[in-house]
């Protein structure tokens, strides 16, 4: 991929498209917790229906992300934004699947806010990789 002009660009676009779906699902589920958007569905039912899309977009993001990483692994290893992204990604995924979906009642809103913040960190750090 290091020798192709187009491969990196195409993989980058795939990464961008999958993150659109990923972020879209997270936003719709988390905003529902705050009473915005699809109010006729419960937050739990909404999350359950959209989970397959979240999982698939995570898989596509991860594969395209690894391909992007393979172009410049050493540079990324020493890039603080890359490290911050990996850390916040692991925490965000673990929080979303293992903690948030088990909380209910008053905790749910806090969980929604934490989840949004964590994913925002992933997005911001991801964008910063190219700037640092």
């Amino acid at each position: 991929m290091q020798q192709s002009t187009y491969a990196f660009a195409i993989v980058e676009m795939i990464h961008l498209l999958s993150l659109t779906m990923l972020g879209g699902v997270i936003l719709v589920v988390d905003l529902r917790i705050f009473g915005l958007g699809l109010k006729s569905q419960t937050a739990g039912a909404l999350a359950q229906q959209l989970n397959p899309f979240l999982l698939w977009s995570l898989v596509v993001s991860a594969i395209s992300g690894i391909l992007l990483l393979s172009e410049e692994p050493v540079k990324c290893y020493y890039n603080p934004a890359f490290r911050a992204k990996m850390l916040s990604l692991v925490v965000a995924v673990a929080f979303y699947f293992f903690i948030q979906q088990r909380l209910s009642g008053g905790y749910a809103k806090w969980a929604g806010a934490v989840s949004l913040l964590l994913w925002l960190c992933v997005g911001l750090a991801g964008r910063a990789i190219g700037l640092i």
């Binding site: 972020g23 699902v25 997270i26 959209l50 964008r127």
Partner: protein, 163 residues
């Protein structure tokens, strides 16, 4: 004339200010990139409902009335941030093939819901609860998804062509 207008925007105090600041351009760009999720993510969920893939138990019109306000909020942020980015790079964007393609696709993607709304959506009460919506509704959804995906790719490509 358009070219002159772009040059005038490019040379204006605000355009130059955004372009020459270390922080302003990347911050606006980051907002623009991350808000894609709000705009296109919500559009995609509505389109997937029309295609009968998600929220099958929810009437189409109820998905539309609940999720499209989020889409419009996303659109407002995208439009303002996108215009500010254009403002600072207008003279370069004018000649940029990816930028031209993106604008063309945006015009098409704007036309799509307009046609959808004034034609097949008028009879939504007849097919509101159906999982499989009429062919014209599914065609609108498929073209919307395709167009938005192409717009994101063209948008990314702008940076590759910008000199």
């Amino acid at each position: 004339m358009l070219e002159h207008f772009c040059q005038w925007l490019y040379d204006s105090a605000i355009g130059t200010g955004i372009r020459e600041s270390i922080w302003v351009f990347p911050i606006i760009e980051t907002v623009h990139v991350l808000t894609i999720t709000l705009l296109v993510g919500t559009v995609a969920i509505f389109d997937l409902r029309l295609l009968g893939v998600v929220l099958k138990n929810e009437p189409v019109s109820r998905v539309a009335s609940q999720i499209l306000p989020l889409t419009w909020a996303g659109f407002a942020v995208m439009f303002v941030s996108g215009f500010l980015l254009f403002w600072s790079e207008a003279a370069k964007s004018y000649a940029n093939p990816a930028f031209r393609i993106k604008l063309l696709l945006l015009a098409l993607v704007g036309l799509n819901p307009l046609i959808f709304h004034f034609t097949i959506f008028q009879s939504v009460s007849e097919w509101n609860g159906r999982v499989v919506t009429p062919l014209r509704a599914r065609l609108a959804a498929a073209s919307s998804l395709t167009l938005w995906a192409c717009i994101i790719c063209a948008g990314r490509a702008i940076a590759y062509f910008q000199k």
